[in-house]
Symmetry: C2
Subunit: 340 residues, 2 copies
DNA sequence: CTGTTAGCGCATTCAA
DNA sequence: TTGAATGCGCTAACAG
């Protein structure tokens, strides 16, 4: 019975193919008795509409591109998992593409949509090539990052609030001299996290010290570089808030290499809760983003964009969570007081 | 000119659509002059054949499923990158799916191919649900792992040789009591790595000690468990060869927690060279698989399977490399002698 | 409520 | 060597 087509079903049910099609896609437009006969024929033949034919006829593809900033970053795997799961359940397929800091690649994927190789694009890069946002954009959902160039449906965490959460945790432990390693400053995200850091300091009445801020790039080496630079400059601190886990782990390792203990001498907080945040030594205190949920939610938004009414750009905010592990502890002076 | 179709081109070139089609797909079956006119018309219209229509007509999809064992494992990202790159260049799309130890999910993806939602399947799970291999299988390429149930084109490293490489490195550093953490034993891969470990010992005349072998599951916790178990049993060793990096890092952290230094007291070798092998503390000595190359090669094999002659199941072997970092050092006794 | 008709864009018969 | 005709499987407009 495999591969039965709509004609076979129609013949078996004694109706036209149009009726079969309607019975399946718009059940209320078919008389109950007819529908029952059709469904029975469908059941007995094991008929499954040929998606390719459906898409071809409807001039859609059922493909959605998921464009990420750096495909070798494990961060995106859970995202993909969430997107794929929701997509599959709704008959869509996900094509993950790597933007890799490269305008040409982004254009290539936007072109895929314009060329009708895909129906829509979920953008996780945080930027678009110059000029692209001026012309008409394909159905697009922005996730993780914010896009300044265009007003599009967006799902992301509140990076500022999340950063505050992290820094307030440190302040609550008695830390006053808290360093911050930023992400690449071309990302809105990085600015937001830095703003959250500054807000938390201000709210606690802690003076803001520019020399405690290091402009990183989200890579491991940049975490090591930051600690090295602080050391060279003779900048003292008892805690670090890094804008992502990779830099945080780089900082931890460089601190240890310089004879400092974590968390005894310096507390470190990361961001993202990557798989190896838990298995690093010491296990890393960090901010967890609901990656899988963000993935499936972005796909949900995409589907409603493609199928539903062109809703006014919604903004969904995903909740974050502070995960306290062993890389943070009370500030040394405070602890002495506590223990004494 | 966007979206010009074959009719427009035909009209412009003053030929039939059939001739345009032939000029593009079977150039030698068209007179030179005609072909030139057609190509000129194609150029001037910017015509690109509608892939969806082509696929629909040819009853193909242009989709290839990449089925992995655990989609949250960063290992697969580079693989995907390699597959996707080669696929894209050849007009294919890659759908990555998560098998996740679950028969039903594997069946679901095999079904996708049978239902003509995809043309082929690149299998990276190392197993197939019982009975599946008995029936006719869709076009399939096996990568990373070996499959016992069926004889299919395969690309993988020589796991046994690779394991020998790792253990010989330790032996060369003077280690004699070398523990081994295996992967899940239902994977051929795990058996092969263990066999390589045993071969290396045998070749060096080192007695095989069953108590030094711990059956792990590739997870971080299993690396910690192994060291804990050895400790509880009072088993002594100066080196560990773990069948993957996650377990190796787990072992390192548990060793450190028990006051042992790596590599001073115990040397540790991993397998895979994951992104964070380099950024772990100490940086991990490990075996590197050419992940990206394995990805693109598997896609190459898939394409030749789909387009070319049904070649007799080939087996491609990918080369591995020992990456020596700071987690391995000369065995303590040897070093004393060396230094003295 | 249902059937007839038309066609998505292309590749491939079959004739000429 | 080329063109006319056909149809992949399905949905949607239009009648009835």
């Amino acid at each position: 019975m495999r591969g039965a087509n709509i004609r076979k079903v129609a013949e078996l049910a004694g109706v036209s193919t149009a009726t079969v099609s309607r019975a399946l896609t718009q059940p209320d437009r078919v008389a109950e008795a007819t529908r029952a006969r059709v469904l029975e024929a469908v059941r007995s033949t094991g008929f499954v509409p040929n998606r390719q034919a459906v898409n071809f006829r409807r001039q859609t593809t059922g493909n959605v591109v998921l464009l990420v900033r750096d495909i070798s970053n494990p961060f995106y795997l859970d995202i993909y998992g969430g997107v794929e799961e929701h997509a599959f359940a709704n008959g869509y397929r996900v094509l993950m593409g790597d933007a890799g800091d490269d305008d040409a690649r982004v254009r290539r994927y936007v072109e895929m949509v314009r060329n009708r190789q895909a129906d829509g694009l979920i953008l996780m890069t945080g930027w678009l090539p110059k000029g692209l946002a001026d012309g008409p954009l394909p159905p697009m959902v922005v996730a993780l990052e914010q896009l300044q160039e265009a007003n599009l449906p967006t799902i992301a965490i509140d990076n500022r609030k999340a950063a505050r959460l992290a820094v307030e945790h440190l302040i609550g432990l008695g830390h006053q001299r808290i360093a911050h390693l930023t992400g690449p400053m071309r990302l809105v995200m990085s600015h937001e996290r830095q703003a959250g850091y500054l807000e938390a300091l201000a709210a606690a009445g802690i003076e803001r010290r520019p020399e405690l801020i290091f402009n990183g790039n989200f890579h491991y080496s940049s975490g090591r570089d930051a600690v090295a630079a602080f050391g060279a400059a003779g900048v003292g601190f008892t805690a670090i808030f890094a804008a992502n886990d990779e830099m945080a782990i780089g900082a931890v390792n460089e601190l240890r290499a310089r004879g400092q203990r974590v968390p005894d001498d310096v507390s470190v907080v990361g961001f993202d809760d990557l798989v190896y945040a838990e298995s690093s030594d010491p296990p890393l205190t960090t901010i967890r983003q609901p990656r899988r949920a963000i993935g499936s939610e972005s796909m949900r938004m995409m589907i409603s964009l493609l199928q539903g009414s062109p809703s006014p750009a919604d903004r969904v905010e995903a909740a974050v969570e502070l995960i306290v592990r062993a890389s943070t502890a009370r500030a040394a002076t405070t602890r002495r007081r506590t223990h004494g």
